[in-house]
């Protein structure tokens, strides 16, 4: 076990898989120089420029080209640099990558990983800070991964690279410096299994990606105030661990979903709806959501802080929930 940052964990996972499988390669802007975050540092020396391909700023080609290369039997890692730029490749992602297997009756194997570092990050304002993962859960054909720890990032990235499904991999860019243990040999972590981050009987908090460390901190604070939260880090949103959430809710009866994304239309709504369908309208004592208000992410630090979900907001929501 080594203590590494989350971005280094991701680097080690990709490195391991590229050493294992010569059909794995990376394409994206500046990747041969190590990538914007250093997540491909050293790859050029080891793999050469045919397997770590710095591309023009051509997002349609980055996405569509990755797909074409998958259709002839390679396993591309498509690096979008920052999530927000995937908007320039939406046809290629939604109409092509997500559809070819189905549309062609199973002939196509779109085995791509699309890496999209997302979320609020160092006052980067409205076009570099978005958290729109819920959009993609609405698209049949793709896996949606939202890891939050170095070990989960590494293990899920290994699964993503080995998967024949297209995997949309939301790197939590604000958590890149966070450290944690990563094993010498990184085993794949299966999609659709939550990490049980904390045990408690008073309420269930479901969370993922950038908000996970803050929810864990909130859990510790709540414990000091006598409230025991059961915390689930979903790790993937499609498939998602419905069973784990239902089981926890069976013990606590109270559900708080906390995500960095805008609350309206966020995946929290789907989680609540599924739990109501399973447990019936009277099956829970209280439900609440924490997320951003439906406002673009602002630039100035006090404005960004005002909107961003954080430890205090999670604690306040949890306290209100257990009082209900």
């Amino acid at each position: 076990m080594a203590q590494v940052t989350l971005v280094e964990a991701a680097r080690l996972a990709a490195l391991q898989e590229m050493r294992r499988d010569p059909t794995v390669w990376v394409l994206g802007e500046d990747v041969a120089r190590g990538g914007l975050f250093g997540q491909y540092r050293g790859f050029l020396d080891e793999f050469g420029e045919s397997r770590i391909v710095s591309t023009p700023i051509s997002e349609s080609m980055i996405m569509g080209g990755g797909l074409g290369a998958a259709l002839v039997g390679t396993r591309p890692i498509i690096e979008m640099r920052i999530f927000d730029f995937v908007m320039c490749a939406m046809d290629e992602l939604v109409n092509q990558v997500a559809k070819v297997r189905y549309m062609f009756g199973g002939q196509a194997k779109p085995a791509v990983v699309v890496r999209m570092p997302h979320g609020i990050w160092r006052n980067s304002a409205a076009q570099h800070s978005q958290t729109l993962e819920s959009w993609f859960t609405h698209i049949p054909g793709v896996v949606v991964a939202v890891p939050a720890t170095p070990a989960d990032t590494a293990g899920l990235l290994v699964s993503a690279i080995r998967s024949d499904d297209p995997v949309l991999f939301f790197d939590p860019k604000n958590l890149f410096p966070v450290t944690g243990e990563v094993p010498e040999v990184i085993d794949p972590i299966p999609f659709g299994r939550a990490r049980h981050a904390r045990q408690g009987r008073d309420l269930t908090i479901v969370t993922w990606s950038a908000l996970v460390p803050q929810v864990e901190e909130a859990g510790a604070m709540l414990a000091q105030r006598g409230i025991e939260a059961d915390i689930l880090d979903l790790r993937t949103l499609w498939p998602w661990d419905e069973e784990a959430v239902a089981a926890s809710l069976g013990r606590t009866g109270r559900l708080l979903v906390a995500h960095e994304a805008v609350t309206v239309g966020g995946f929290g709504g789907e989680i609540v709806a599924r739990m109501v369908e399973r447990l019936g309208p009277g099956g829970m004592k209280a439900v609440a959501r924490v997320g951003q208000p439906r406002v673009p992410v602002p630039f100035a630090p006090p404005l960004e802080d005002a909107l961003k979900p954080d430890v205090a907001k999670v604690v306040a929501a949890a306290e209100a929930l257990v009082r209900r």
Partner: protein, 333 residues
């Protein structure tokens, strides 16, 4: 393909006859599909390539089975010329279980990966990045196959055209871009919405060498494509073939295209590629009965395919849930 009486004239004659056969098969497929659509046997939108057969035939005769193609919404001819199975294509149009895509794609999404046909596309220019990426993948794998990418003149006003050509040059990829220039994009004359001199100038500005050819002269398409394909196979990087042609029917099977000048339509019908090649072959002494045999065989093949498709089983509704994804697939209920 017809194997008729032995004919004098050698390899070139055989090549022209093969081109003729391919074009007749495409024409017969399209006419059969149109009739079936009118009869209510084929659901959904249908784009046929009547009048444009010379481009598909002339290009694909230069491709190997392990070469790949991508196509657009008007892709039946490209698929047939690449060798896609007819019954699988017809059944796909009919939405039947035996279609290449199990009835999940239809006319606009025909693919037959077994012959390197990586898919038609319902999005204009959608096949361009896929073709370029396929070429990059093949190169990475050390294969010597190439990719031909068919698109219309309407596609050159979309971003992926610029991105794709630029990219193919940068990585010196084995791609033959084929612009089928029929002068229209749906209901609009393409020239009226295209700045500058058009596809060749744009292509050359990006460093992609081009040839322009009369796309209704299948032999000329073949010759030009064979030159470009040889250069691509030799590692010279991408090439573009600009083939002018004419869409004799409407944009879709239900579009009468009545806005077009009737005189221009009549003139274009005179210049259509099958009649052109027939005249040449007759002038070279090929017996009319031999050519009539090829035409008759093509029509018979396609009407049998129509009959078979009509009585072929529909897909079991349960398969609607299949082929989505491995992880997180939803259960049928």
């Amino acid at each position: 393909m017809s194997t008729g009486p032995s004919l004098n004239g050698g390899d070139n004659r055989a090549r022209l006859i093969a081109l003729y056969g391919t074009m007749c098969r495409i024409r017969a497929f399209e006419e059969t599909a149109l009739a079936a659509h009118k009869a209510g046997e084929i659901p959904g939108p249908l784009h046929v390539s009547i009048g444009q057969e010379g481009v598909a035939a002339g290009v694909c005769t230069n491709l190997r089975r392990d070469d790949r193609i991508t196509s657009n919404h008007r892709g039946h001819g490209h698929a047939l010329a690449k060798g896609a199975g007819v019954s699988g294509m017809m059944e796909e149009l009919f939405g039947r279980a035996g279609g290449h895509c199990r009835g999940k794609g239809g006319s606009m999404h025909i693919a037959d990966f077994s012959v390197g046909m990586l898919g038609a596309n319902g999005v204009v220019a959608g096949g361009i990045p896929i073709a370029v990426g396929a070429a990059q993948g093949l190169k990475l794998l050390g294969r010597d196959s190439i990719v031909a990418c068919f698109f219309g003149d309407g596609a050159i006003n979309r971003g992926p055209f610029l991105e794709g050509l630029n990219w193919a040059v940068l990585y010196r990829l084995p791609v033959l871009f084929v612009c089928e220039d029929n002068g229209v994009a749906a209901f609009t004359a393409t020239a009226s919405v295209t700045a500058g001199p058009g596809v060749v100038a744009r292509s050359e500005a990006l460093g992609v060498p081009c040839l322009s050819v009369d796309g209704n002269d299948a032999a000329a398409v073949d010759e030009a494509a064979s030159r470009l394909v040889a250069e691509i196979r030799a590692g010279a990087g991408p090439r573009l073939l600009h083939a002018t042609t004419y869409r004799i029917t409407g944009h879709t099977s239900t579009d009468p295209a009545a806005w077009r000048d009737p005189a221009a339509v009549a003139a274009a019908k005179e210049a259509e590629p099958i009649g052109r090649l027939r005249a040449r072959l007759l002038a070279e002494g090929v017996p009319p009965s031999f050519l009539a045999g090829i035409e008759g065989e093509a029509r018979a093949e396609m009407s049998q395919a129509r009959e078979a498709a009509l009585s072929a089983p529909w897909p079991d509704p349960a398969i609607a849930w299949e082929d989505v994804q491995d992880s997180g697939a939803v259960e049928a209920h």
